[in-house]
């Protein structure tokens, strides 16, 4: 028997296939009967994907150009 709390605690390992089969099977059977866990897992994944996207989209368009110019000047190249 696994609870919602067990599921939440083991979620990263579960999603990355790092759990022993016995534990993964117990979680899987809990989740298939638990809409709250199913929704929680979805929200957990979407939160981490959104974190990535929110940060990567803030890289300024001309950032690499500015950086390479700065480095050329400071390293006395070009």
């Amino acid at each position: 028997m696994k609870t919602c709390q067990d599921t939440a605690e083991l979620l990263s390992d579960y999603l990355e296939n790092q759990l022993p089969k016995e534990d993964a099977d117990l979680l899987k059977s809990h989740i298939s009967d638990c809409p709250a866990c199913e929704a929680f897992i979805k929200s957990f994944r979407v939160a981490s994907e959104t974190t990535r996207k929110v940060l990567l989209r803030q890289i300024p368009q001309d950032f690499n150009h500015r950086l390479t110019s700065f480095l050329r000047e400071r390293t006395k190249q070009g």
Partner: protein, 220 residues
């Protein structure tokens, strides 16, 4: 004793062979560029910069949440790399070295600031009924795709606030894994942490960010 690994239906795509092959090729390409740069080829150094500047910036920005501070950290990081290029032996990936320097520079900058209020991670984690059941369903945001959510300014602001409230040792692990795409093993190498410590910090940081979104994002 061998443990069999299960593949749950809802699992993230397993580390595919193709993905691993791509990572391997990227690492080898970096090491080739480092060797050329060490021999004085500036164009090779510049290619290293261009290959990694974006993700280094994202790491610094996530740590500092200030664009000009993040830019400064990236500048310093690549200057450090340039200066110490000859000391790099190639025993581990170039990116492990790069992210170690970047994380240290970002942490140093954080420490120079007036101390920001940081929460204890425990207050940011979900709570459960005594029998271990969830107390509520996640809000409607959770049913949306990341592509939709990323366009929502309110949600992006909550997310950045959540990163800022994470203790920095959790924040840096989350960013390296979920933004820069390092593996747990790479992060353990970069940060000098055991793998269980990396996994525990990463997981709690993910739970905390999810929880913050759920507590604070109220829009339907």
């Amino acid at each position: 004793m061998t443990t069999r690994k299960a593949a749950p239906d809802s699992a993230l795509p397993p580390a595919l062979d193709a993905e691993q092959a791509r990572k391997r090729a990227d690492k080898d390409h970096d090491l080739g560029l480092v060797k050329k740069a060490q021999a004085g080829d500036y164009a090779a150094f510049e290619e290293l910069v261009t290959r990694h500047s974006g993700k280094t910036y994202a790491l610094a920005l996530g740590m500092l949440r200030n664009a000009s501070d993040a830019e400064e950290v990236v500048q310093d990081t690549f200057l450090n790399v340039f200066t110490h290029l000859s000391t790099f032996r190639g025993d581990s990936a170039f990116t492990s070295w790069l992210y170690r320097v970047a994380a240290n520079n970002a942490l140093m900058k954080l420490r120079k600031r007036r101390r920001e209020p940081v929460d204890s991670i425990e207050t940011m984690l979900p709570s459960f009924h005594e029998d271990g059941h969830h107390t509520h369903m996640p809000g409607v945001w959770a049913a949306r795709s990341a592509d939709k959510l990323v366009d929502d300014k309110e949600l992006a602001a909550i997310l950045e606030g959540a990163l800022g409230r994470l203790p920095e040792q959790y924040r840096v692990v989350l960013l390296m894994r979920d933004v820069d795409g390092l593996t747990n093993e790479e992060i353990s190498d970069v940060m000098g942490l055991s793998i269980p410590a990396v996994k525990s910090r990463l997981h709690r940081a993910r739970l905390a960010v999810r929880e913050e979104l759920d507590r604070k994002y109220k829009k339907d």
